[in-house]
């Protein structure tokens, strides 16, 4: 079998916050032990100054790029952005990506075993915030011996984590790239999430979150939740281009409730595919954390006067987090006296655009990171020069 992939990665696990030193969450609840699943690519420099933390969006995982085995054809979720010679160049940078706290891809979440009961947490799992996810990531970064990240990069809910990083640990972040994100959910975004949650909770197999034993899971509800998500990730224009009113394999209307239209079939396919890899309770917790996020809650503690350079990017057809919300963020950063670049990229592909091939996005990210890396090296040299002055 030919080598499909030359960039092998290993999913690793870091466990911390063992009782009695549990992680104290924003809600005041305590959680421990906590495990984060994470992957790294590239090599950390001896100065440990080339680390980039990539944070994933709502339903992503630690597998940002590369493959687990040489025959493994499944790419990472941001293969086009991360890798040797890519915009986030792993020949230059040491890239870290961890599954979020509350997730279901190896990190502690509602489907993990509750050490107190020996059963999965289910709804006994405490409600989380974006800030809590970042606190957990910070423990991992400390564990890796990195005192300052060259950059934190992420889109959508990942972008919220980028912002929470900057507000909570400004001294640990040299640069930030929040993509297609928002400083806070609009009522509309919360509304979509709530409908998605209700779809899960209305599924009789959900059983108040206690479905981990034998028997059926709330797959139907989770699939509908995913369908709602997919509608918000696309745009009117991208749906028109992708599907229009095209029928699935027939020329005439079928006059029954099968997936007659291409768009129906697409949504059903996406929904069914999703339930194979995702936990319904995790979906509830993660969407709630996204709804709770408000940069103002964190900003009082940091940001103003922080030495962080920002590259904020929005996409014209993103109606989940429209450009105006990125502009609100930019305005806030300017008022805080921070160095910020902003670009609104013309794209028909809606919110999803940040995950799709986009020459402009890739060149912006590559150039911005190069600049930050260059400036960092220059600073280090200047500092070294000062040290050797005698």
């Amino acid at each position: 079998m030919p080598d499909v992939c030359a960039n092998l990665v290993i999913k690793q696990f870091f466990t911390f916050a063992e009782p009695p030193h549990e992680l104290v969450l924003e809600s005041g609840e305590r959680l421990g032990p906590v495990t984060l699943a994470y992957e790294t690519m590239g090599t950390l420099t001896p100065d440990r100054d080339n680390a980039i933390l990539v944070v994933h969006a709502l339903t992503g995982d630690s597998h940002v790029a590369g493959c687990y085995t040489k025959e493994d054809a499944r790419p990472g979720w941001w293969e086009i952005m991360v890798g040797p010679g890519k915009a986030i160049d792993t020949e230059r940078y040491f890239v870290i990506c961890a599954n979020v706290l509350g997730g279901c891809m190896g990190s502690t979440g509602p489907s993990s075993l509750n050490p107190v009961t020996g059963h999965p947490y289910g709804l006994a799992f405490p409600l989380l915030t974006i800030g809590d996810m970042v606190t957990a990531q910070k423990a991992l970064i400390d564990h890796l011996g990195i005192s300052r990240l060259l950059a934190v990069v992420g889109g959508s809910v990942g972008g919220m984590q980028v912002l929470a990083w900057c507000a909570r640990y400004p001294e640990m972040v040299r640069a930030a790239i929040p993509l297609a994100t928002t400083p806070r959910h609009s009522a509309q975004s919360i509304a979509f999430n709530e409908v998605a949650r209700q779809a899960i909770m209305a599924d009789p197999h959900w059983r108040e979150g206690d479905y981990y034993g034998e028997g059926a899971k709330p797959d139907l509800g989770l699939a509908v939740a995913r369908m709602i998500g997919h509608i918000t990730y696309l745009s009117n224009e991208s749906m028109r281009k992708k599907f229009g009113r095209q029928l699935k394999s027939r020329d005439a209307l079928s006059f029954h409730f099968d997936a007659g239209f291409e768009v129906e079939s697409y949504l059903r396919y996406q929904g069914n595919k999703f339930v194979e890899r995702f936990d319904a309770n995790s979906f509830l917790y993660l969407t709630k954390a996204a709804d709770y996020f408000d940069l103002d809650d964190y900003a009082a503690t940091g940001l103003s006067g922080a030495e962080i350079s920002f590259l904020v990017v929005a996409f014209t057809s993103d109606w989940l987090y429209p450009t105006e919300q990125s502009r609100t963020l930019v305005r806030y950063l300017k008022r805080s006296g921070l160095d910020v670049s902003f670009c609104e990229i013309e794209s028909d592909w809606g919110h999803d655009a940040f995950l799709l091939p986009n020459e402009r996005l890739h060149s912006l990210v590559a150039a911005f990171l190069s600049r930050i890396f260059r400036e960092g090296s220059a600073e280090n040299k200047a500092a070294d020069g000062g040290g050797h002055a005698f």
Binding site: S309, K334, G337, D339, S341, F342, C343, S363, A367, S370
Partner: protein, 201 residues
């Protein structure tokens, strides 16, 4: 670099904080960053030009500078450059007042509408003047007002704005050469460049 931009660059102290409104592809900002070690920021409307700027390692915001300037704290910049754009601004008084709040000094440049060639065109040919500096037809011009050096001096006096330097130059659009006009500038200069500040300074 264009001659007018060279003159603007010469007015800027090394190591200062500079904001360039309508910075295009960032040629001036890059020069200032590399040659004078300034902390350079730009605002530009055009996505492709913003991308070029960021590609050059500059900090640039995509947006309408008339709106974007409102969000900076006072004295965020030592110099704000508004080069060959004032004739397209809807509310120049409000804009300049804002600029003098968020920046200590402002460098304004514009094509001089009282250049003799323009006067002659209107006087003898009788059509709306077109010049290499203002090459548009009446129906496709982005320029909504015309300014002369004398107009700008009067404006500054009326509004209590201090003119710290005035450089009248004779150069053509996009040209790298030109010269400073000392004699009869309002008649002979193609562009005016003004360094202005708050009157109380």
């Amino acid at each position: 670099m264009r001659f007018d931009l060279q003159i603007i660059a010469s007015l800027i102290e090394p190591g200062s904080r500079v904001l360039d409104l309508g910075c295009g592809e960032g040629e001036l900002l890059q020069y200032l960053k590399e040659q004078k070690g300034v902390k350079a920021t730009g605002i530009e409307k055009d996505e492709a030009e913003v991308a070029v700027c960021i590609g050059r390692g500059l900090s640039v915001l995509q947006g309408d500078f008339n709106l974007e300037v409102a969000d900076y704290p006072p004295d965020s910049f030592d110099y704000i450059i508004i080069s060959q754009t004032l004739q397209q601004v809807y509310e120049p008084v409000a804009l300049i007042n804002t600029l003098l709040a968020i920046g200590k000094k402002v460098i304004v440049s514009f094509p001089n509408f009282s250049h003799w060639r323009i006067r002659v065109q209107l006087l003898f040919a009788g059509y709306a003047p077109r010049s290499p500096e203002l090459p548009y037809e009446w129906y496709d011009t982005p320029n909504i007002r015309v300014i002369t050096l004398r107009d700008f001096r009067n404006f500054a006096r009326e509004k209590g704005i201090a003119i710290l330097r005035e450089v009248a130059i004779n150069t053509h659009r996009q040209q790298e050469t030109g010269h400073i006009v000392h004699f009869l500038p309002n008649l002979r200069a193609t562009y005016g460049i003004f360094l202005i500040g708050r009157a109380d300074r």
